[in-house]
């Protein structure tokens, strides 16, 4: 077990290094150049000044040297300054990450609270009209463009009905929990609708698989009621694949957060990364993308470990072979 975990950890670190280098290189290819932007902003700067500034910041060095210098600083906890926020990168992230965790956490809990019972219900009556209806809704949730869903929610609940704010974190001047919660309703709804469909489908498929097992047939033969059969015999085993799916969906959740936060002007990590990429805020974009990668890698890692941990029938060796 230890060897396996250590191996996976090492692998993740290698992936992270490769990604950080690739992203570092790609960010350099974005339109504009930090020094050019500075020169444009200040008419007193001459081309000679620009050249000296480039040398000062090391921008005349080959990319690999610049990357190694960045990596060296990063390893010591220095991720540089955010150009657009005028703050150290870590401070900007610190002020944003809580909002994203809040948004993603609530919508994850909500979508599981909907998906698990509905998935079980559909699995108990496979191919019934209601199962078809549930399936239709799942496909609809998976297929709806997330930004369009956000637009529709805004048009319906903010423009037409006027019930909820169209975006932002809080009304200017107003304070209090209720106001904050009002602003969270639509983004949470958008994220939940987008993720509940695939969770429900996984729950249904995994429950159907579990209900086919011999031990369930034995329990049934002994006269166990349907409710007890689900809650005491099937549910634990049926949840195992769902746990894996949730861990594997970290990356997708993050993509969802990017769109939803941007649409609703929610000041979280997703909007921060998007604004940083478009606003030439290199340091911030780089670290933001790194965090997104770490989250995805951690999700994959947890999925593999969790599978072995939760299901004694699966061994590390069989898991490693499958990959």
């Amino acid at each position: 077990m230890f060897r396996y975990i250590a191996g996976r950890l090492l692998e993740s670190i290698v992936v992270l290094l490769v990604v950080s280098f690739a992203v570092y290189g790609l960010i350099g290819l974005m339109p504009g150049d930090p020094i050019d932007l500075m020169v444009q902003g200040d008419p007193n700067l001459t081309p000679e000044d620009a050249k000296r500034l480039k040398a000062l910041y090391g921008l005349d060095q080959p990319i690999i040297d610049r990357y190694l210098a960045w990596l060296g600083n990063a390893a010591q906890g220095d991720f540089g300054y955010s150009r657009n926020h005028g703050q150290p990168v870590l401070d900007v992230i610190g002020s944003r990450i809580g909002n994203t965790i809040f948004l993603l956490g609530i919508s994850l809990i909500l979508s599981l609270a909907i998906a698990i019972p509905i998935g079980i219900y559909a699995a108990l009556r496979p191919y019934s009209p209601l199962d078809y209806a549930i399936n239709m809704f799942c496909f609809a949730g998976i297929s709806i463009p997330p930004f369009w869903l956000a637009l529709l929610l805004i048009i319906l609940f903010s423009v037409t009905l006027g019930w909820l704010p169209a975006g932002g974190m809080a009304t200017v001047g107003a304070s209090g929990l209720l106001d904050r919660l009002e602003h969270a309703v639509l983004p949470v709804a958008a994220l939940t609708i987008a993720s509940v469909g695939s969770f429900t489908r996984f729950m249904r498929a995994s429950m159907i698989q579990t209900l086919r097992q011999d031990y369930i047939r034995t329990a049934r033969a002994k006269g166990v009621s349907t409710t007890r059969m689900v809650t005491h015999h099937a549910l634990q085993n049926a949840l195992i694949p769902l746990v894996t799916v949730i861990a594997l969906s970290f990356g997708t959740l993050f993509s969802g957060a990017l769109i939803t936060e941007t649409m609703f002007s929610w000041l979280g990590m997703g909007k921060m990364i998007y604004d940083a990429i478009l606003g030439n805020d290199y340091n911030l974009a780089l670290v933001g993308l790194m965090i997104a990668t770490v989250l995805t890698l951690a999700g994959n890692f947890l999925a593999d470990i969790g599978y072995v941990w939760l299901d004694p029938r699966v061994t590390i060796a069989s898991r490693a072979d499958k990959r």
Binding site: E11, S12, V15, V18, V19, V23, L26, I27, G28, L29, M30, P31, G32, M136, F139, A140, I142, S143, I144, P145, P146, F147, W148, L151, L152, I154, I155, V159, T160, A166, G251, F254, S255, L258, I259, T262, M263, I273, Y274, I277, L278, A285, G288, L289, A292, T293, L295, T296, L297, N300, R323
Partner: protein
């Protein structure tokens, strides 16, 4: 020479195909989706014809006719520049569908090649390629697509004839989606290849001295085609979603070329004046994506060799 290698597969192909067709027809949603998709494709392809018939076109702007409600002249009204919404939707459909299908096809080809190679050769090539695949799967897709869509092509040293061309945004989207989209097919094809290369008919071909390329082409690939078709069909839906979100953010298909995504770019600012403008393009994206997903689901059921009738 080919008498042994050409022994028919376990079940005769024709009855197999017929069985698949029968199972597919039973999947009503998939069948309906296929009809919807064919209709959408015909309408998009026939865009010039429909424009000529209705006397509308996608490009003409008319600032005196902005935000017109649906009328005989403009069946779905006009947008913020006075352009006909229906004509733009049809043209947008051409672009969105074509880009998604080409990108899906490119991803499938790359994935098939990588999967075949890794599965057939095994050893270090397999380990290396599959670790690489795992790495690509672990990437945060949307933020990276945004970075790739935003990079300055001039800084890549591409000739100006490419970077200045009007269609460059189309090619760019296809390329960046294909760069990340091949992983599912690669994994499926590798798994299929690993099991197929142990089968008697492949070993017989090896024993006869057939070259690896020929074995992969004529013996393994045809038998691994079902999962490729299913995965590719399902991927078209998600590619349309990615293309639309990038175009919506202003990073994908660039105006004046219309796509369903970029028709929504201004919609958020106009929700108070013309909320209907936000409805049509999104609805078409939604219908197309759900149709591709149902179609893929139906094909999966139909092509599953373990399914019972």
């Amino acid at each position: 020479m080919t008498t042994v290698t050409d022994t028919p597969p376990p079940s005769p192909p024709q009855s197999n195909a017929r069985r698949m067709a029968r199972r597919f027809r039973r999947h009503r949603l998939a069948l309906g989706s296929l009809v919807v998709l064919i209709l959408l494709a015909l309408l998009s392809l026939g865009a010039p014809l429909i424009e000529a018939l209705l006397g509308i076109d996608a490009e003409t702007t008319n600032l005196f006719q902005r935000f017109q409600p649906p009328s005989a002249a403009h069946p779905l009204g006009t947008d913020e520049a006075g352009r006909d919404v229906l004509a733009r939707l049809l043209h947008g459909g051409r672009v969105s569908l074509a880009v998604a299908m080409v990108a899906a096809l490119c991803s499938a080809i790359i994935g098939t090649l990588i999967g075949l190679f890794a599965g057939y050769h095994g050893g270090w090539a397999d380990t290396l390629l599959m670790r690489f695949t795992d790495g690509v799967i672990a990437l945060p897709l949307l933020p990276l697509l945004i970075v790739l869509a935003a990079i300055d092509l001039n800084k890549l040293g591409l000739p100006e004839s490419i970077t200045q061309s009007e269609d460059v945004s189309l090619y760019r989207i296809v390329v960046i989606i294909a760069l990340f989209g091949w992983t599912t097919v690669a994994r499926l094809v590798r798994a299929e290849t690993l099991s197929l290369k142990q089968r008697e008919f492949v070993r017989a071909a090896v024993a006869q001295g057939a070259r690896p390329g020929r074995i992969m082409r004529t013996h393994i690939l045809p038998n691994a085609i079902s999962p490729i078709i299913v995965a590719t069909t399902l991927s078209v839906g998600s590619i349309i979603l990615f293309e639309s979100v990038l175009s919506f953010l202003g990073l994908g298909i660039q105006p004046p070329v219309a796509s369903w995504g970029n028709m929504l770019t201004n919609a958020q600012d106009l929700i108070w004046d013309a909320p209907l403008l936000a409805v049509w393009p999104g609805l078409l994206i939604f219908v197309t994506v759900i149709a591709f997903n149902f179609l893929g689901d139906g094909l999966q059921d139909a092509m599953d060799p373990r399914a019972v009738d």
